[in-house]
């Protein structure tokens, strides 16, 4: 630090010179160097909090194809930028280390998990769906046409999107499966 800088950093001088006599004087050098963590974001994406049904608007900050911060969106007439403790923790929910990113498989009578590639798992599930559907198929019930299966069932959470529920109900119905349920009944 030069002598000039040293003198200029003297709080009384800063207080007299500054436009904001209190704030600038109180600001440390460290604070002056701080930058918002979202400053370097490549893009900001509109989102909605996934917890309760108030539907607080979120802004998702992305850098190098990674989410770096999630904040409330002040534009929302519902939430006005606020988030609750859960919504504020949604960065950790989505990017935290406890999330799984690998398919796991437990074979019948197995005592532990095994790894299974996603494609292989999808093939196995498709085969099992077809077999269980056929196994539980009923054409007639008490002499009347029902063309349904009780061999398969699904239970979904209420954080599924509308589009996801729509495809699920559509596929399930076309398969003749009637046991489709959701958190909405629980």
């Amino acid at each position: 630090m030069t002598l000039r800088e040293l003198v200029a950093s003297w709080p009384v001088l800063r207080q007299l010179k500054g436009g904001d006599p209190r704030g600038d004087a109180a600001k440390s050098r460290r604070t002056a160097r701080l930058r918002p963590r979202i400053r370097d974001a490549d893009k900001v994406v509109d989102s909605v909090c996934p917890y309760c049904a108030v539907g607080c608007a979120q802004k998702v900050y992305v850098k190098d194809e990674r989410v770096i911060q999630i904040e409330g969106d002040p534009k929302s007439p519902i939430s006005r930028g606020r988030l609750c403790p859960k919504g504020s923790a949604s960065l950790q929910l989505t990017t935290g280390s406890s999330r799984m990113h690998e398919v796991l498989y437990r074979r019948p009578y197995g005592t532990d998990w095994e790894r299974l590639p996603l494609d292989r798992a999808m093939d196995m599930i498709a085969d099992r769906m077809i077999a269980a559907r056929r196994d539980g198929w009923v054409w007639e019930y008490e002499g009347r046409n029902v063309r349904h299966t009780l061999g398969i069932a699904s239970l979904g959470g209420a954080t599924l999107d509308n589009e996801e529920n729509y495809l699920l109900k559509k596929l399930w119905t076309a398969l003749g499966a009637v046991q489709i349920e959701n958190q909405a009944r629980i």
């Binding site: 989102s47 909605v48 996934p50 309760c52 049904a53 539907g55 607080c56 998702v60 989410v67 534009k75 929302s76 519902i78 939430s79 609750c84 403790p85 859960k86 923790a89 949604s90 929910l93 989505t94 406890s98 999330r99 799984m100 990113h101 690998e102 437990r106 019948p108 009578y109 005592t111 996603l118 599930i125 498709a126 009923v138 019930y141 009347r144 029902v146 063309r147 061999g151 398969i152 069932a153 979904g156 959470g157 209420a158 954080t159 599924l160 999107d161 509308n162 589009e163 996801e164 529920n165 729509y166 495809l167 699920l168 109900k169 559509k170 076309a174 046991q179 349920e181 959701n182 909405a184």
Partner: protein, 852 residues
């Protein structure tokens, strides 16, 4: 609300700052109570007695909004001679069938109904009505009422709804409220004063409830009681009024609108049942209403079939109506578990749901899963439903051994909300779009990806099949464009299909455009318009500060972007606002249309003095004062002549398991409640019967601000786990003294199903009540926990039983009975022995609790 919907609660605080009185009725004192003007501690499970007391007060003291009541409710309508009330039959309504434990609802109809008079026998159709949850088809409008409607505008006729209501609630006096609910007279009087003083032409009162209100054997009737009160006070369809369901999941409203539910097709169209095999026309005859917007059901149904089966759906083949599987009974989640235990249901898909900890009587769920051939779990982390076979409670007690369990388990990691595009429908019916920010890492994928590719793989495998069972899947429209490196299907393309297309592939802008000739397609008629002009209306984000308070350009609300339902009722019959202070919609006679800050929930040019020709049907049959346009008689229902399976009026029934007796009726519990008789679902003695003294305390379950549901999205989040690190129970100092519980020590809590342990929080927030002249203690149990994650603990749902609301098949976890004792629970087989000991001492058999 401050606990579970904190950001929504800011508006309650704004209202309070402007002079609104906030009343909080809840067994416990919470952050909401702390910010309210009045906290009313109440015994869990007595909401109808409380609301009934308010209704009684309003009727006896003539505090109702007479002009509104006469114009917009069915108060004047005359009911059939055959109807008998719970007052006449000591807790039963007319039409009860003891053998099947269901009601024949025909005697509840309006006089003039064309429905045949009740025969005294319940037929198959009625059983199916109950089992297939037909009631839920009215999620966006009421059921049909047929025939001429007789009224007495003086409200004096002994069989008019108003007089029936007065007699029904005559004994719901303040003294009775005190006796049943434990709410002292002076406190109740203050609620009455606030409520009636703040309703009328100049003022409105809103009732907010969390979805826990549905988790009772009288769930639907709880909400019915609130609607009767609000209709009498003129608080529906008006700004600042209403009954606000505060839903607890981002898309629980959407999950019923576009139902991943067994009994519904999109937009509340009922799934056909096995009695409906005579073609589409006969089905529509059965289900459609003659008046109002449900009169256009044929257009909604044909457009849905066109969306699903495209060119294969033609008028010649009934638009593939027979491709829809038929319901044969109750296929709800708890009954599906029975099918799993029987070995009928062999494969199970869990998508963001954790029944091994989150469903009532979780052990029952695990018993079902242990008998599956295969189970798929899609979630963020290894929730209890994914790992019960290696570390579940039954492994601990020795009842199950991992190496004996044959269930094959697939765990597939799910994408987060930031990793996929799509829409949630919030608790205001508002669709809000999210854009994908990043692609999910590793093998995590969206549920859209999973369902689409699973469907694709199944279709590939069945492409060459000539089995007629495979035609619906072969003919299904299933070609969605995919995007990105992971071949994610386009959520926006799915939304466009939900919105619907007209001739030439034009995006539809309103359900008024839907036709029943096959020229339109629409995946969910109430969402028609969300993609009007090819624009994703749910993605609109015009800042709140650039709009008025209604903010029509933020997202899109169904139907037709209306923000207040039934808002025609905000104006008087002549079309003038009830008052300047509460003005919303008004009839502009010069321009010949309804105007206001919202989309009118009414035909926009239908004049207040319009009277329809007698032979008109559908929307054309509405008169200019039929404010409740989804109701078959255009009226708000103080009395429900149809559509509800456990009575046309709410009556106070005790919970399935209760330490208290019902002072009002001989039939003390809901006679139509749904029970599941199963060895892992034994009920406790109740209602003062021998053995009930072993379970002397009321328990209720609830949420904390820092956790979400059963914890799948919070127990693995370090911040949230640190804020609420373990399971605890809340007890009053009096109960702690009675049972020797110490603050921060341990408690063991026992029911006929299970024993669990929790840390003890001794707090004055739990108020001992005087019920039926005796002290009554309640125990609060937050239900977020399970054995996995960072924040762990026993699951409160282990204690619960399966007794269900007969309309919705939802379980009663909000009011139960239990015992509590100090110390940790036994481990291993000793835990089973303790529960067995309670069952033995209480004399519990398979018949216990099954009484009518």
């Amino acid at each position: 609300m401050a606990e579970c919907h904190p950001v929504g609660f800011q508006w309650v605080m704004e209202a309070k700052a402007r002079g609104a009185v906030v009343i909080h009725v809840d067994p416990r004192f919470t952050r909401t109570s702390a910010l309210s003007d009045l906290h009313v501690p109440i015994r869990a499970g007595t909401d109808i007695a409380f609301l009934g007391g308010l209704i009684h007060h309003v009727l006896e003291n003539e505090k109702y909004f007479r002009e509104y009541v006469l114009a917009y409710t069915n108060a004047a309508t005359i009911v059939r001679e055959e109807f008998r009330d719970t007052e006449d039959l000591d807790g039963l309504f007319s039409g009860y069938d003891e053998e099947h434990r269901v009601y024949d609802p025909r005697s509840w109809q309006y006089a003039g109904s064309e429905m045949p008079a009740p025969s005294g026998e319940v037929d198959e159709e009625m059983l199916l009505m109950t089992e297939t949850a037909r009631v839920e088809a009215h999620g966006s409008g009421g059921p049909e009422v047929s025939g001429k409607i007789y009224t007495d505008e003086t409200l004096q006729h002994p069989r008019c709804v108003f007089q029936i209501l007065k007699r029904h609630f005559a004994r719901y006096t303040p003294e009775m409220v005190e006796q049943i609910c434990g709410v002292p007279r002076d406190l109740f009087d203050r609620v009455c004063e606030y409520l009636t003083g703040n309703s009328g032409p100049d003022r409105t009162t809103a009732i907010g409830y969390a979805v826990g209100w549905t988790q009772h054997t009288t769930g639907v009737q709880n909400i019915r009681a609130a609607s009767i009160l609000q209709s009498l006070l003129g608080n529906i369809g008006r700004p600042g009024g209403g009954i606000l369901a505060l839903r607890g999941h981002a898309n629980i409203q959407g999950s019923t609108d576009i139902p991943a539910l067994f009994d519904l097709l999109p937009a509340y169209i009922p799934m056909p049942h096995l009695g409906q095999n005579e073609g589409l026309a006969a089905y529509l005859e059965d289900e459609a209403a003659s008046k109002g917007y449900w009169g256009k059901m044929s257009a909604y149904m044909v457009s849905l079939l066109k969306a699903w089966w495209g060119e294969h759906a033609t008028a010649d083949n009934d638009f593939c109506f027979d491709y829809l599987p038929r319901l044969t009974g109750n296929h709800s989640t708890y009954h599906t578990v029975l099918r799993q235990m029987e070995g009928v249901c062999k494969g199970y898909l869990l998508m963001g749901e954790n029944p091994a900890a989150g469903s009532s009587n979780s052990r029952y769920e695990r018993m079902g899963m242990a008998n599956l051939d295969w189970l798929v779990v899609r979630d963020f982390s290894l929730i209890e439903s994914a790992t019960w076979w290696k570390d579940g409670p039954e492994i601990e007690t020795g009842e199950m051994r991992t190496e004996d369990l044959r269930t094959e388990v697939f765990f597939l990691p799910a994408a987060a909300h930031t990793e996929k595009s799509g829409s949630f429908t919030n608790t205001d019916r508002l669709l809000q779009w999210r854009d994908q920010a990043v692609e999910p890492a590793g093998e995590a994928r969206s549920d859209l990806w999973f369902v689409y590719h699973l469907g694709r793989l199944i279709r590939e495998r069945l492409a060459s099949s000539d089995d007629p069972m495979d035609l619906p899947i072969k003919h299904l429209t299933w070609d969605y464009p995919t995007e990105g490196t992971q071949a994610e299907p386009s959520a926006e393309a799915v939304l466009a299909e939900i919105n619907g297309f007209g001739p030439g592939g034009r995006h539809l802008s309103s359900y008024d455009e839907l036709a029943d000739d096959g020229s339109t397609s629409c995946g969910c008629w109430i969402y028609c318009g969300v993609y009007a002009d090819g624009v994703n209306q749910a993605a609109r984000r015009k800042p709140g500060w650039e709009q008025d308070h209604v903010a029509l350009e933020w997202g899109w609300a169904w139907p037709a972007n209306r923000r207040i339902l039934y808002n025609r009722a905000s104006a008087d019959p002549g079309g003038r606002p009830w008052s300047d202070r509460k003005a919303y919609l008004r009839w502009d006679a010069e321009r010949g249309r309804w105007t206001g800050p919202d989309t009118p929930d009414f035909p926009p040019t239908l004049s207040p003095d319009h009277r329809p020709p007698p032979d008109a049907t559908g929307p054309d049959a509405l008169s200019g004062t039929d404010a409740f346009i989804m109701q078959a008689d255009g009226r708000a229902w103080l009395y429900a002549p149809a559509g509800i399976v456990d009575g046309p009026l709410p009556a106070h029934y005790e919970p399935q398991e209760s330490p208290s007796e019902n002072p009002l009726y001989h039939y003390g519990r809901n006679p139509a409640r749904e029970l599941i008789q199963h060895p892992v679902n034994r009920y406790q003695p109740s209602d003062g019967k021998p053995g009930s003294e072993l379970f002397p305390y009321v328990t209720t379950t609830y949420r904390l601000t820092e956790h979400h549901t059963v914890g799948g999205m919070s127990r693995w989040v370090p911040y949230l786990s640190e804020l609420q690190p373990e399971f605890f129970c809340e007890v009053s100092p009096e109960l702690a003294a009675e049972r020797g519980l110490t603050h921060l020590g341990w408690a063991t809590i026992v029911s006929a199903r299970a024993v669990i342990e929790a840390r003890v929080l001794v707090t004055e927030r739990m108020t001992p009540l005087i019920v039926e002249g005796r002290p009554l203690h309640q125990i609060g149990l937050p239900y977020h926990w399970g054995r996995n994650g960072y924040s762990r603990g026993d699951s409160a749902n282990e204690l619960a039983h399966l007794s269900l609301d007969p309309n919705t098949h939802i379980q009663e976890v909000k009011a139960m009975a239990c015992d509590i004792r100090p110390g940790r629970r036994p481990r291993g087989p000793a835990a089973l022995e303790l529960v067995e000991d309670y069952r033995r001492r209480a004399g519990i058999t398979e018949r216990t609790g099954m009484e009518i």
